[in-house]
């Protein structure tokens, strides 16, 4: 059941980044923090590169597809989750557009980015709740040893590229980026070494 542990671990990585962005927006809104646009952009790139392009395909291939082959329980939830996975490009584009307006100094730029991010965070909260409350229990109920072996191998083969705690490689470029995000985020959200510098 290593796949289960990896998926929960990756959800925590994602939640930590979303939490950090949410706190930074809050602090900016309260006048306590100046925006670091490069850091925001790097974090949004993370959201695109990690959950949308890496994490979701693993769920589709190694959890959802074999679950559908075992049972029709949860079909409705699975259909919704798969549809949401397929809408990744639009979701990120909306966020990037809002960030671009904010970065370019549009009068309503901050409010627009804040609203777009709230929508994104709310989406992920509901998305992960649906996975964890409805689908993962069904996976535990219906998966055979064979299914688990395939899922474990699949998840382990494409580890959390952004610092998930179960990864074993030390030179993953994504891991370095994750550490860089942690370092650059303002304290106490991160280590406070910002502003973020592009490579």
């Amino acid at each position: 059941m290593e796949a289960m542990r990896i998926i929960m671990d990756e959800h925590q990585s994602l939640a930590a980044i979303i939490h950090a962005i949410r706190l930074m927006i809050h602090e900016i809104g309260a006048g306590k923090l100046q925006p670091d646009f490069k850091l925001f952009a790097a974090m949004v790139r993370y959201l695109d590169a990690y959950p949308e392009k890496r994490h979701h395909p693993k769920e589709d291939a190694f959890l959802f597809a074999p679950l559908k082959a075992r049972t029709n329980e949860g079909d409705e939830a699975l259909a919704r989750l798969e549809a949401e996975h397929a809408q990744a490009e639009g979701r990120i584009a909306t966020l990037q557009a809002a960030l671009a307006r904010y970065t370019d100094g549009a009068p309503d730029g901050f409010a627009g980015f804040s609203a777009a991010f709230d929508a994104y965070a709310d989406f992920y909260r509901n998305h992960m709740l649906l996975e964890e409350r409805e689908i993962l229990p069904l996976v535990k109920k219906h998966f055979t040893a064979e299914d688990w072996a395939a899922a474990d191998a699949g998840f382990a083969a494409t580890p959390d590229p952004m610092g998930g705690t179960r990864t074993t490689g030390s030179d993953d470029d994504f891991r370095r980026i994750f550490s860089k995000l942690v370092a650059a985020a303002p304290a106490p959200i991160g280590l406070g070494a910002g502003p973020y510098q592009d490579d």
């Binding site: 059941m1 290593e2 289960m4 542990r5 929960m8 671990d9 959800h11 925590q12 990585s13 994602l14 939640a15 930590a16 980044i17 979303i18 939490h19 950090a20 949410r22 706190l23 965070a121 992920y124 909260r125 992960m128 709740l129 964890e132 409350r133 535990k140 610092g163 998930g164 705690t165 179960r166 990864t167 074993t168 030390s170 891991r175 994750f178 550490s179 995000l181 942690v182 370092a183 985020a185 304290a187 106490p188 959200i189 991160g190 280590l191 406070g192 070494a193």
Partner: protein, 253 residues
């Protein structure tokens, strides 16, 4: 089921600690194998810190502590550090008026007294693990952020080149992003061969990195098993993980 680690680095057997008439730890037994991360989870006041303090010899105790092949009849801090045990306390206990680098070098004091002169190389290794500390090496420790202080506390303990590193609530008071980074470093330490005893209230994070886990409640080991199994145990889920999990709470605030 017990922790069937092939090469136990630490074994405690029926450890008891009392504060006056109050027994804070009762017959606690636990094993940490070589290269393992073993976690002790439990609520505030369960006796987790007491357990670490007793193992380290900071608190008097009854029972036995086997460390790295021999029994510590009466655990003493200085001897245990010299033998390769180290503790990162919950309060970090840094020297705020000293620089980051001086705090780190102090961590190698015991080895230096024993004639080892390898601390410059160890310092480089610590800076490799914590690049932020290198950037801040001339800063006073008292000026560091919470995450930096935790990294410094861990780095200082590593300067003693421990075989067993005990971490007391390393995520306490830190934002989720930093907690992720701290736990990533903990797994990196395991990869480098350090055995780790991790005491945590953040059960979800601890169970995800640990190989084996113990649940401590009101001074007694209430449950134990491989971390993957405990993470799936309904009693642990209900008491320590909760529906939706901690990261859902992060997203809601």
């Amino acid at each position: 089921m017990t922790n069937q680690a092939k090469n136990p680095v630490l074994q405690i057997d029926r450890l008891c600690v009392s504060y006056g008439k109050v027994e804070a730890l009762t017959n606690a037994s636990l094993t940490v194998g070589e290269g393992q991360i073993v976690t002790v989870i439990g609520p505030n006041g369960a006796g987790k810190t007491t357990m670490l303090s007793a193992i380290m010899g900071v608190l008097g105790s009854k029972g036995t502590v086997h460390f790295d092949g021999s029994i510590e009849a009466v655990p003493e801090v200085e001897r245990l550090v010299a033998r390769g045990m180290n503790l990162v306390p919950e309060k970090r206990e840094l020297f705020g008026e000293m620089s980051v680098e001086d705090n780190l070098v102090l961590g190698a004091f015991q080895r230096y007294r024993m004639g080892h002169r390898d601390h410059p190389k160890t310092l480089d290794e610590i800076y490799d693990l914590f690049p932020r500390l290198k950037e801040r090496r001339t800063q006073l420790a008292g000026t560091l952020s919470g995450g930096e202080r935790q990294m410094l506390a861990v780095g200082r303990a590593l300067m003693a080149k421990p075989k067993l590193l005990m971490l007391d609530e390393p995520s306490l008071g830190l934002a989720p992003l930093i907690v992720r980074e701290i736990f990533r470093i903990v797994t990196e330490l395991r990869r480098r061969g350090v055995s780790i005893l991790l005491v945590e209230q953040n059960a979800r994070a601890a169970l995800q990195v640990a190989d084996y886990a113990y649940v401590l409640e009101t001074g007694q080991i209430a449950m134990h098993g491989p971390a993957t199994q405990l993470a799936d145990d309904p009693r642990v889920v209900e008491a320590y993980l909760g529906l939706g999990g901690k990261h859902q709470a992060m997203l809601s605030t």
